[in-house]
Amino acid sequence: MANSGHAAHEGHDDHHGAPKSFWQRWVVTTNHKDIGTLYLIFAGVMFFVGGLMALVIRAELFQPGLQFVDPMFFNSMTTMHALAMIFGAVMPAWVGLANWMIPLQVGAPDMALPRMNNFSFWIMPFAFTLLLSTLFTGSGAPAGGWTLYPPLSLQGGDSFPMAIFAIHMMGASSIMGAINVIVTIMNMRAPGMTLLRMPLFCWTWLITAYLLILVMPVLAGAVTMLLTDHFFGTSFFSAAGGGDPVMYQHIFWFFGHPEVYILILPAFGVVSEIIPAFSRKPLFGYESMVYASASIGFLSFIVWAHHMFTVGMPLAGQLFFMLTTMLIAVPTGVKVFNWSATMWKGSLSFEPPMLFAVAFLFLFTIGGFSGLMLSIVPADFQYQDSYFVVAHFHYVLVPGAIFAIMAGIYYWLPKWSGHMYNMSLAKWHFWLSTIFVNVLFFPQHFLGLAGMPRRIPDYSVQFADWNMVSSIGAFGFGLSQLLMPYLVWQCVRGGAAAKAKAWEGARGLEWEVPSPAPYHTWETAPDEATIIHASPTGH
């Protein structure tokens, strides 16, 4: 473990520390680091709640036939697993990392709107208490899929309005979080921290934040229309009143496609910082990374109908959405090329953050390729709603987004806690996760191509073998994840002291403050020489 970073610049004062009372420290806090920690803890809890639901699904699918749960509850599990993982685990984890790292990385003393920051966090536990409480209503939790397509979603009974209000609350929280990120990056960068000296995590988050404020309200509008259709006699999506259920799908996916980039763009940022740090080279093609991220953000708005090729569309529409979807592969390819070129002839070392980042690079690309296959209209007619789709989006979300979150946590944990963590345990976590995630999801490609539909609790016996393999992978992956909270807890309690620059190749202003990062940082902005020294390009 090489940690020979040079002495940190400690020109800022730590004149008052964290408040002593629990109430002030963890409830009414406006400190970006505390709120970041709260978000990450919340995301971790929801990751295990959503994971438990996934294990119910995989237990039922271990063998053909109905063994453990009835089909309605099974459908509730697929619906709630998706909502918990997307809105409860991945998005809050990114907001948590943004809270912790963006002020440190741009040389700001805190987020721009600290009280709103506190508010946007505290909405989340209430939103998810409301959502999870639907499990105990007479009608059961929502079971019509996380996309809430009408008319099925309207038949959810008591759980339907509760789920919609929960989505409204999550949306409000995300929009506030996004506004906070934009204002912080736009207004609070230290003098000399030009936009093109920012680390890529800040850049990708800035683009993500714009996507959030443009599409979360559209989702809020779509679910509001569901609500008024059901309770107030409007007919946006009701054919009887002149509406059209297919229109819901268009509005939903106008939100839904940018949403998938909301989940993955910050991952691109994290990986773009970790790969150079452990290759001991500056990032290859920094500016092209920025432009590629922005083009992906733009293109994400004009490809939504590739989620619904089979509902009926003019040929010109199918061609347009197919070709724009394929076009996204170009900026994504630029990124994959740049990451590989950064590692090329680098002085590589494989500490846990780098292991997760390299696994991301390989496995996210597999998910990207199956996405390209799905973009081909005639092929999509075959793959539509099969396990191939399930395999595709789990490859981009689990070894994609979630591995990048884990990479980020392992990268910045020494900065947060002031201690190095147990490297061999982290490597165990990595290898178990990487092996089991492939055992879990790779066979689902075969199942889908063989014709197994998604969202079913029972299946034909010809699918039995690969389902059993996949379920074994699921339990292996799920159990391996228990290592991470233990490891983080251990690291917070103690361990070898981390240097200010915990990784010798790391760049960025966060490594110019001591470890653990003091409660208040950058109350005096860093000088330009420090900023240039820490910038990703070195100029």
């Binding site: 709107l113 996004a178 506004i179 443009l214 309200p217 779509a222 009887a240 002149g242 509005i251």
Partner: protein, 183 residues
């Protein structure tokens, strides 16, 4: 603490602007509803106006040609209504006015309204299928237990492409309870 490199006052202004963008995006979600209809009209794909409004067209019979028109009656749920065409199909000459009847019976046990939603297949034939009168243009009142035949009058456009000799007119009959707002 000697320097404050940013102007705290400008945070509120930028946050308000971004909040306005979010509000605009919320409105845009609703603006997608009329935009969707415009797209349907422009592409002619699933053109609702053509399906649910009375056409004004004169008879120009072309008796040299015969087209089969099939009728289908669907229900979204089972048990609360009966709905079927009086005949399964008829042979028509393009340009001539015909009448077909659909029979509905209210089994809901209460006074209510039914609304038929039409569809024409193949979709390319939709713009050549003109309804001059149809029970689907308005909600239909039914007393409890009432059974009634309802007429649709239509003309198949003589401009119908030669290769089409088969058109299906399908209705789905919804219980709307109260007359839904017509759009």
């Amino acid at each position: 603490m000697s320097q404050t490199p940013y102007k705290p006052n400008s945070h509120g202004r930028l946050a308000l602007k971004l909040g306005a963008v979010a509000l605009g995006a919320f409105g845009f979600g609703f603006a997608l509803v009329p935009l969707y209809d415009v797209m349907c009209a422009v592409t002619g794909f699933g053109n609702k106006a053509n399906l649910t409004r009375a056409a004004k067209i004169a008879e120009h019979p072309d008796d040299s040609r015969t087209v089969t028109v099939e009728f289908l009656g669907d229900l979204p749920t089972v048990g609360s209504w009966e709905f079927r065409p009086a005949v399964r199909s008829i042979q028509v000459h393009p340009g001539r006015l015909y009448e077909a009847k659909f029979v509905a019976r209210n089994l809901t046990g209460r006074d209510t309204y039914g609304q038929a939603v039409p569809d024409v297949a193949p979709s390319k034939a939709a713009s050549f299928f003109h309804k001059t009168e149809c029970f689907c243009f308005t909600p239909q009142h039914f007393a409890s237990g009432e059974e009634r035949a309802m007429p649709v009058r239509f003309i198949v456009d003589p401009a119908l492409p030669r290769y089409m000799d088969h058109i299906t007119l399908a209705y789905t009959f919804y219980d709307t309870q109260a007359p839904a707002a017509q759009r």
